[in-house]
Symmetry: C2
């Protein structure tokens, strides 16, 4: 069997490793932490809640821990029974020594019943916005969808962005897709992107982020295609209502289909396109892509960049709220807001 390196390649087709793209971020994080610690402060601390027996979740937790330890951040895994998770979250929300919190999903699983609402969705919003290192609570998603980039009017504290979508943005920056000559918020001007997945965890936030930066984004899911422009959701014109049609005009294709059966037809991919796979399954035949598609750049997984973004988000939370404001979320941010009404 031929080794990967001897697989035939189309002209300048290239496979890019996430580990390489993650390196500059890891270096930056290490020097930031070194400065924090040398100034006599403790390093920021992430608590990761593991409440299932899923080997993939455990592997992710171990992987997070290794990266955090390597980079000088504090990490603590808390293993809890699923029915005790909410109370454990509440304790961490109120603990001033905890700067970031994440949950390894699934906990109760994502059972669709009636029109929506799983216990896991509920848990995601039980993480205080002051500590939500994944950026997946409703407050940060809503900020993103409304292109509001700061948590407060003074615009000193940036919002947390969801890790996996943020990793995709950083990969695209690393590949030189963002035009740094243009102002922030316009650096993807003229770029066409297809994002195949529209979950609230990956696909929709990613579509919004790229559109907020000026790209035209086609958000493709099982039964519909929407177009995002500047964070605004539009119905896609009739001619573009197929995955094939949007992929054929896309400079960038992001694959995030949570199914082993899904494979994108490589013949749809434009020469010179960038293809990123963010699903745990391979949504495309990598060898066929690299063999047939001229100038394509393929990133098979973004996990290492995602973990670097977890670290960056923790640093941001520590910067934003490290002097203890987080504890004021108290038992409920909403109660605080309601209580503030005269």
């Amino acid at each position: 069997m031929a080794s990967k390196s001897s697989v035939p390649r189309a002209d300048s087709a290239l496979k890019v490793l996430a580990s390489k793209l993650a390196q500059p971020f890891e270096a930056e994080i290490q020097s930031t932490i070194a400065a924090v610690v040398s100034s006599g402060r403790v390093a920021p601390k992430l608590v990761g809640f593991l409440a299932n027996a899923d080997p993939a979740a455990k592997a992710y937790a171990e992987w997070t821990e290794r990266a955090f330890t390597r980079d000088g951040l504090r990490y603590e895994r808390r293993d809890v029974a699923e029915h005790e998770l909410e109370d454990a979250l509440e304790a961490a929300n109120q603990d001033p020594d905890v700067h970031g919190i994440m949950i390894y999903y699934p906990v109760f699983g994502a059972q669709p019943s009636f029109h929506g609402g799983s216990h896991d969705d509920y848990l995601r919003d039980c993480v205080s916005p002051f500590k939500d290192v994944e950026g997946l609570c409703h407050f940060y998603r809503r900020s993103l969808y409304r292109n509001r980039r700061f948590v407060e009017d003074a615009q000193l504290k940036k919002c947390i962005l969801p890790c996996t979508p943020l990793a995709v943005v950083k990969v695209l920056e690393g590949l030189g897709v963002y035009d740094s000559q243009l102002p922030v918020g316009d650096r993807m001007r003229g770029k066409v992107v297809s994002v195949i997945n529209r979950s609230e965890v990956v696909g929709r936030p990613l579509a919004a982020m790229l559109a907020n930066d000026g790209a035209i984004v086609y958000s493709v899911d099982i039964d519909s295609i929407y177009e995002y422009r500047r964070g605004t959701l539009e119905l896609t014109s009739e001619a573009l209502r197929s995955t094939e049609a949007t992929v054929r005009i896309s400079d960038i294709v992001v694959l995030g289909v949570p199914s082993a059966a899904y494979k994108l037809d490589v013949s749809w991919v434009k020469d010179g396109a960038i293809v990123l796979n963010v699903a745990s399954h391979k949504n495309i035949d990598e060898e066929a892509l690299l063999a047939t598609c001229k100038g394509v750049r393929y990133v098979g997984q973004v996990g290492k960049v995602t973990v670097a973004m977890l670290e960056r988000n923790l640093l941001r939370l520590h910067y934003n709220f490290g002097s203890g404001e987080g504890v004021k979320w108290s038992s409920d941010m909403a109660a605080l807001a309601l209580g503030a009404v005269p």
Copy 2:
């Protein structure tokens, strides 16, 4: 074919109509509204957003409108395209003449992808807690799961409870199941309940409400059974890890399975039990139940009581926040809370 009234019945088996159970609430609402209007104030107003072409959703909207008009409340249906709903919600959130908001689901549908998060789940939390007449935003669910019954420390403003679960509680009160000799929060003491469904819209909030009132509740879903006591989630003992086992010891069985194929085995139902069907499908063979199960009381649907609860919730929101506090949710309650941090 025999008419329903001539179907054989077991001793004192009884079918109870929701329309009858709804009447006292309707009368109470009408007199409250009459008092509001005669004092020179405008009646509270509900805005219902219809953003799909689902005939069932439209029928529910028309049904809501008829009930609200009959009872002297204001109702306005706003038909919007699905991709314009978020902005339309935001406008209603900030409109001081709107006291309650609801969405007729599904909008984008409940597509499970990765571990959770549908666009519809997101929208549910875009309704301001100051106007959430369905009581389904995260703030009210979280309050319920933590058995916090008021929105503020002063304990003047009661939390909104989700309509369908609240309707079930009111049906049980109407049937004399709640023991009014006991203190509030203990009136279901000793009662055993099985709730077949654990969605965040119906089953889980209902289980929590009944447990908060002292019942032992078995919460049954496709692949697990939990026990709720006093709002606390417990793992069920091994002997009770089947629907049959929990139903056989239950005084009350609530059926909410969103599938035409699901039918509860009537032989599992205890003599004298109360069976409520809250699903749009009939989860039990009504005639077989009434023919074989002595002293059973069966409520085939609770929709009319649910609409009465929508009305009551609107009155509560108007009472709690009718002087305009709701507008202060501004573009984001969370921003308010964050902004309040010194």
